[in-house]
Symmetry: C2
Subunit: 430 residues, 2 copies
């Protein structure tokens, strides 16, 4: 989180100077509006250029449809994935392959289904299905991923906002809550390159999450490592292994980790996976056996043929970074140039992931998004990054720079900055 040093902060201006600035901004804004642009900064989707990196997955005739162990990839079976695909995810999770379950094309589905199983049947160490309890609560570091929050809301799981700082969730808050409230059964975490702030949990945060005492014996960390390999720079943000940290702390069943190749190979046709303790994995497999005969093994074989191994996947991600880095830097450069030192916004400068998070003055996010929309820049709905869609300070805006071309990003961000400044002036004058 960059805190911009006050240089010529708007709040220090006289009302006359502010009004004068406001007039200039209204004029600039009107000019933008008149251009009738249509720019979409809402979607955390890879661009066509990124998808082209994996064209061979689609176009080239593949090798054998037989897995290493002789399994015919075309036929039924393989409930938890082919050994060679498990090995790649085992390296990604830094977990034994036996503790990996390979799924279909959607890690969201694995997460959703993990919650469903807990609701209908409970989890190892729990005494009953969560659905039988009068109240189940989850901790939700926010801003965070709206689809995590949506799953909770859909299943009647009450969400408690947890402040998300530069090192991760506010652990004093977390520890105090989980220690005293047995209805708190879980916590959503995107530990690396958090959606949307881009920060990575520190070792200290990981250790505290692993070791903290929870009133609920069946508390679960739903650890969505969605951006495990999504570095923008050659050096990755190190993330401590939650599986080993929890095991060392005597809480082996606490974490369930998730990942996918959706933003590695193809967003709609990747491979998802989870890793957890032997007990959680056995439990998940037992349930999976009722749901499916197995995920698409041919797609696993395609992916193995394409990446070869985990280092191959990392090399592939370096090519994504070449495309994404200039887009991310364009956004933060424009923020710095247009908003720097004005005391009206802070933003993150992520070293990976898919989003940049912009915080306006309190009470301005909705207006900025509305102004942006009217000027043809579609931004993620203000509040979407918080449980129940409610940003208590109405200040967070999620910016998704991956999909549009660079020139569109620059045009859109210039407009967004004017919107931020205009909303700030209006607020200060109000």
């Amino acid at each position: 989180m960059l805190s911009n040093r006050p240089m010529s902060e708007l709040s220090s201006l006289s009302r006359t100077a502010l009004a004068d600035l406001g007039q200039k901004l209204e004029a600039r804004y009107s000019a933008f509006k008149a251009r009738g642009l249509s720019l979409d900064m809402t979607r955390g989707k890879p661009s066509a250029e990124q998808l082209d990196l994996a064209t061979d997955l689609w176009k080239s005739p593949q090798g054998s449809f037989l897995a290493k162990d002789g399994t015919d990839g075309r036929n039924y079976g393989g409930l938890d994935g082919l050994p060679e695909m498990k090995e790649i995810f085992a390296a990604l999770f830094d977990a034994p392959a036996a503790q990996v379950i390979v799924g279909g094309n959607s890690s969201l589905q694995i997460m959703h289904d993990t919650v469903v199983r807990a609701v209908t049947h409970g989890v190892p160490g729990g005494s009953e299905p969560w659905g039988k309890l009068s109240k189940v609560r989850f901790l939700c570091p926010a801003p965070g991923y709206d689809r995590h929050f949506a799953i909770c809301e859909h299943f009647g799981i009450e969400m408690l906002n947890i402040e998300l700082g530069p090192e991760g969730p506010n652990m004093d808050q977390v520890e105090s809550l989980v220690a005293s409230d047995a209805s708190i059964k879980g916590m959503w975490c995107v530990p690396k390159y958090v959606n949307p702030t881009g920060i990575t949990y520190s070792d200290r945060v990981v250790d505290r999450l692993a070791a903290m005492k929870t009133a609920a014996p069946d508390f679960r960390l739903l650890w969505d490592n969605a951006y495990a390999v999504h570095d923008l720079y050659p050096e990755t943000d190190p993330l401590k292994n939650i599986l080993t940290a929890c095991k060392a702390a005597g809480n082996e069943n606490r974490p369930i980790t998730f990942a996918s190749t959706s933003k590695v190979s193809f967003a709609g046709s990747g491979i998802s996976a989870m890793a957890s303790s032997p007990a959680n994995v056995a439990d998940a497999k037992k349930h999976l056996g009722f749901q499916t005969i197995g995920p698409d093994k041919l797609n696993q074989l395609r992916h193995v043929a394409f990446f070869k191994d985990y280092p191959g996947m990392l090399r592939h991600m370096a090519r994504h970074a070449e495309i994404l880095r200039p887009k991310f830097e364009a956004v933060t450069d424009i923020f710095q140039n247009e908003l720097g030192g004005k005391g009206i916004a802070t933003w993150t400068k992520p070293r990976g992931g898919y989003f940049i998070s912009l915080d306006t003055l309190d009470g301005c996010a909705k207006e900025v998004v509305s102004l942006g929309n009217q000027a043809g820049v579609k931004l993620t709905v203000a509040g979407a990054t918080f449980p129940y869609g409610k940003d208590p300070r109405d200040r967070n805006i999620r910016v998704a720079p991956s999909l549009p071309p660079l020139d569109q990003i620059k045009a859109a961000m210039e407009i967004v900055c004017v919107c931020v400044e205009l909303a700030s002036v209006r607020k200060l004058l109000a």
Copy 2:
């Protein structure tokens, strides 16, 4: 169901003659045992030869990754399937494409998830989630598909056996139960080429299922049309459209139909789909939006490129039939030659699907399966085709002739016939 005419029925033999026959059979059986065979007749899986029919789906470079409507198949989206894939399933279901949802590689998953949604949230027309009710019951025509029954058992849904005859379920029994018991919320149906008997529901049965009065306002027919296009002969068994029949009877929301290409293209990498009323489809989509961003669209595009259209799929199925028909006929020919007229077994002669059902004398199925196993012929566990794995008459054996080569099938069936006769003699002598 072929009822074999009494010719020289075993039950009419004297004890001496029976004992004499028993000795001969024991000798034949011992000779088989000594051969140390290993034949597996348990799995309803396509053979490699069948899978080879779709080799182009795997090996050949495919066309464009863009769908007709411009959707990039590689990226996120397409919650309910691409239009061109929906069209093919719309033809299969004989339903409007707007009432079709295309899923991933597993229709079992769509069915499982349909039940889960009813358990956690209820269904349109119902007043509460099924999981909140003290008792939920399902009617299960039996013999039937073990994985349907397993889903019920997993979610605590009590199953009631319904007699399955040559025209379908015993409708007097069905109508009387659903009319009087509001806890009966659903019924599993494999309406065409039933697993395992191979019969197809008559029009009269379909009409009665569509029109019957149910005490539960949210009663559902889970209509697993798994073998919709799986004919062994040029003429298909006609099956009346349950969607239109229910709509005509004023019960539009009653049926949810399922199908897949698992036994059409690749068993592990096919495309699944469901079709239902607009209300059920809207409800399913609402829930799906929490579970996934969409199924694998590239696999849909591959399938569309391969089949072109529904008639193309039917032409492909005719090639499967060429492979499967001799296997099915070998089984029923051997049954006829070895067991015909002996009054100890009846069997079905399906015109499609994946199974042949053999009924022994009451109380003999477990012994036949055990004898078969000891002689190296693996048969589906006796009882597996009934709810809770309990065949009340212990007589049904499911034979799956698709996977093994023809010579193995013949060898296995010869042994099975000896086992049936031996078990029958033992029973008659007991």
